[in-house]
């Protein structure tokens, strides 16, 4: 199994951080522009002029670059759970920075997502079908752990 380098873990972290930050900035910017309707699409063009929206779009571009980079060396089913960590990050930022109350159901949701990401991250990052390797088999066999 190809071991992920530190640099590649940084790219995976970039997916989570940039998408979270980008979405938050976009949401913040759209609040300034409340009332854009689908009937006046020109409003969407003007939205780009809002500094929050501009910053959000730049960060989402950074997210996309990280995402594409990750997909060039890891499976889609490996990278996608990493993107879901963004939901967890948003909730934790809300809780610790903005002192939002997180309900027990949401904590359970956070735990499930984190567990899912852990499950995938502990396995191989890429399972190429074209050049099968013996070591890839450990995705299928039940783990002999602890």
């Amino acid at each position: 199994m190809p071991q992920l380098t530190f640099q590649k873990y940084l790219v995976l972290a970039g997916i989570t951080v940039f998408s979270t930050a980008g979405d938050s900035l976009l949401a913040r910017g759209m609040k300034d522009l409340a009332g854009i309707s689908l009937h006046h699409p020109s409003g969407l063009l003007l939205a780009v002029l809002n500094p929050w929206v501009t910053a959000g779009i730049l960060l989402l571009l950074a997210f996309f670059v990280c995402y594409m980079s990750a997909l060039s060396w890891a499976d889609l089913t490996y990278v996608l759970p990493a993107t879901s960590l963004a939901y967890v990050l948003v909730a934790l930022i809300g809780h610790f920075q903005l002192h939002e109350v997180i309900s027990p159901t949401r904590w359970l949701g956070i735990a499930l997502i984190a567990a899912g990401v852990g499950f995938v991250a502990a396995g191989p990052s890429v399972t190429p079908s074209r050049q099968p390797r013996d070591t890839d088999r450990d995705t299928l066999s039940p783990e002999v752990r602890s």
Partner: protein, 126 residues
């Protein structure tokens, strides 16, 4: 009636974003490891190679369709229905599609992960 529209939009979002993810993943696998390519040929070579891959443009178009379906879905249905339903089902649909079209080995580990994440997304949106 709005309910039907909302679910139609959710179905379209799932279909389009799964198609997009599979096409983008397929394109990037054809481009190859970009970190190696970057080191050897430079950033411009990476960009040129990605943009020259026809499936990449198709993938982007599918993502755009998914994005606009989400906008329309939000105008018909509740935020609390459309977002979690489409996000969580997309995780499961992607696992199925990656196995069929990308021949990824979606082992027990990844099935469990897809289901856990999908369930977690629903709970977080409640």
């Amino acid at each position: 009636m709005n309910e039907v529209h909302a679910w139609a939009a959710i179905g379209l979002i799932i279909l389009a974003s799964t198609t997009g993810d599979v096409l983008l993943s397929y394109s990037m696998k054809r481009v190859g490891d970009v970190t190696d390519l970057w080191r050897q040929r430079g950033l411009l070579a990476v960009a040129a190679r990605v943009l020259a891959t026809p499936t990449f443009a198709l993938g982007l178009m599918a993502m755009a369709v998914a994005f606009y379906s989400l906008l329309f879905g939000l105008s018909w249905g509740n935020l609390s229905l459309v977002v979690p339903a489409s996000a969580s089902l997309t995780f499961v649909a992607n696992a199925v599609a990656a196995r069929i079209f990308l021949h990824e080995r979606v082992g027990r580990r990844r099935w469990i992960a897809a289901l856990l994440v999908a369930g977690g997304v629903v709970l977080m949106a409640l």
